[in-house]
């Protein structure tokens, strides 16, 4: 019997190695795997590269992981947002590497990694500071920038429901980065608000097929705003 469901947060994060690239889903508080981030803090892995749309806010979650000195590098599109105080401090002190990526390029780089595409060309960022040092090439009279696939060792995602084969379905705008991150990592760990029996999630409504998911842990977080 295939059973990807694990019983504890410690089991969910077991084996995450120092130096890992960790993809962290969510946009704002919606679809953000808070409990898995807390569990990663407990688990202890360090020297991490974190890929997340924002560089953490307040003092909890990703910001806490950074404050503890466990993050070597952040790859994101929007480092500065209201309350990103820990990022600001560490970045100013030179204790954090930063790679800024246009949001669509970030999503596509992970989709490419998941699909076995090593690199691709996009018009986004052509002629800007973010294209510096990258190969640029003309297709049909227009300039494009080469971007590389962005692969994770681990992805932490949040879904509304999941089953023991790892099938996931998201709720409303909670989908965001989660499906592409699930595709792009060696080990995808999903925090789900509801566990379902096999077949209970309508196959037409599975957003992330279980092939992309290695571990599922139940955590009813309540609403994203509590």
């Amino acid at each position: 019997m295939i059973n990807k469901i694990v019983q504890s947060m410690a089991d969910a994060l077991a084996g995450v190695k120092d130096g890992s690239t960790v993809l962290i889903g969510g946009f704002g508080k919606v679809g953000q795997p808070d409990a898995l981030i807390e569990a990663l803090i407990e688990q202890g892995a360090t020297d991490l590269t974190c890929v997340c749309n924002n560089a953490g806010t307040g003092r909890a979650g990703l910001a806490r992981l950074m404050e503890l000195g466990r993050v070597r590098k952040i790859i994101c599109s929007f480092p500065r947002s209201e309350g990103s105080v820990v990022f600001e401090d560490l970045y100013k002190q030179g204790k954090l590497e930063l790679e800024i990526v246009p949001q669509g390029t970030m999503a596509e780089r992970m989709r490419a990694a998941g699909a076995g595409v090593p690199a691709f060309y996009t018009a986004t960022s052509h002629g800007t500071l973010l294209a510096r040092g990258k190969e640029e090439r003309e297709f049909n009279g227009k300039m494009y920038v080469m971007e590389h696939a962005l692969k994770g060792d681990v992805a932490l995602v949040e879904a509304w429901e999941g089953d023991r084969w790892g099938n996931l379905a998201y709720r409303d705008s909670g989908r965001n980065f989660n499906p592409v991150m699930a595709m792009a990592a060696e080990m995808t760990i999903a925090q789900v608000a509801h566990l379902r029996d096999l077949g209970e999630i309508d196959p037409e409504k599975v957003h992330t097929p279980g092939i992309f998911v290695q571990r599922v842990v139940h955590f009813d977080r309540g609403t994203p705003w509590t």
């Binding site: 946009f27 669509g104 390029t105 999503a107 500071l129 409303d172 592409v180």
Partner: protein, 213 residues
């Protein structure tokens, strides 16, 4: 009287026809959706995978799982749908969005836009989806004040700030009027706010304005 913020949004909204799919940047442009009547079916898209944004939620009826790119709570209108980030940006980067309206620091007469970083030395500016939208939407409009708070023109011959997108701005809506970027010519005045003269708009711009032919 120059347009106030609300009138600027309404002026831009007036020019959006039924049937367009429109992405609105965070900040001032977001207000444009409030100025398009529901009967005129314009489909508003948000980068985080929402297509078909409805009116602001009534107090007590917010859905905490449903936000826009500015992290504000929104609604979905009937016919609306969700997708993941790569599909959402495929809509943007694949040329499926009819119009994007962004805020701006500067727009140059060749259509260059600067709106993400205030200097080359700003090592951690937030780009978000601005470069994807600037390069990928079929049309790019900019909604911004005509000058900075200290009176510096924002319509310029060449951008001084780091660029977001090259040569893609079609139109600018400011508190002084509406300006079209014509390739090979520069800024053409399409409309002026009530009581604003061509000369006043010109004096507050750092590039030549052209009268419509």
């Amino acid at each position: 009287m120059p347009f106030n913020r609300d009138q600027m949004a309404a002026r831009a909204a007036d020019d959006i026809p039924e049937g367009w799919v429109v992405n609105l940047g965070v900040g001032m442009p977001t207000n444009i959706s409030n100025k398009v009547p529901l009967e005129r079916e314009v489909i508003f898209q948000s980068e985080n995978g929402v297509l078909g944004i409805g009116p602001a939620p009534a107090p007590g009826h917010e859905n905490p799982w449903l936000i826009n790119a500015g992290k504000g709570l929104i609604t979905l209108r009937p016919g609306g749908s969700y997708c993941h980030h790569a599909d959402s940006f495929a809509m943007i980067r694949g040329g499926h969005i009819d119009l994007c309206v962004l805020g701006g620091f500067e727009v140059a007469e060749n259509g260059d836009l600067a709106n993400w970083a205030t200097s080359e030395n700003d090592t951690a500016p937030a780009v978000g989806g601005a470069m994807d939208l600037g390069a990928g939407a079929k049309r790019l409009w900019v909604l911004m004040d005509h000058t900075t708070k200290d009176g510096r023109p924002k319509l310029v011959e060449a951008c001084g700030y780091p660029l977001t997108a090259l040569g893609t701005v079609n139109r600018i809506y400011t508190n002084l009027g509406v300006f079209e970027v014509q390739r090979g010519l520069g800024f053409v005045v399409l409309d002026l706010a009530p009581g604003v003269t061509f000369e006043e708009a010109q004096s507050k711009s750092a590039a030549k304005l052209h009268r419509p032919s």
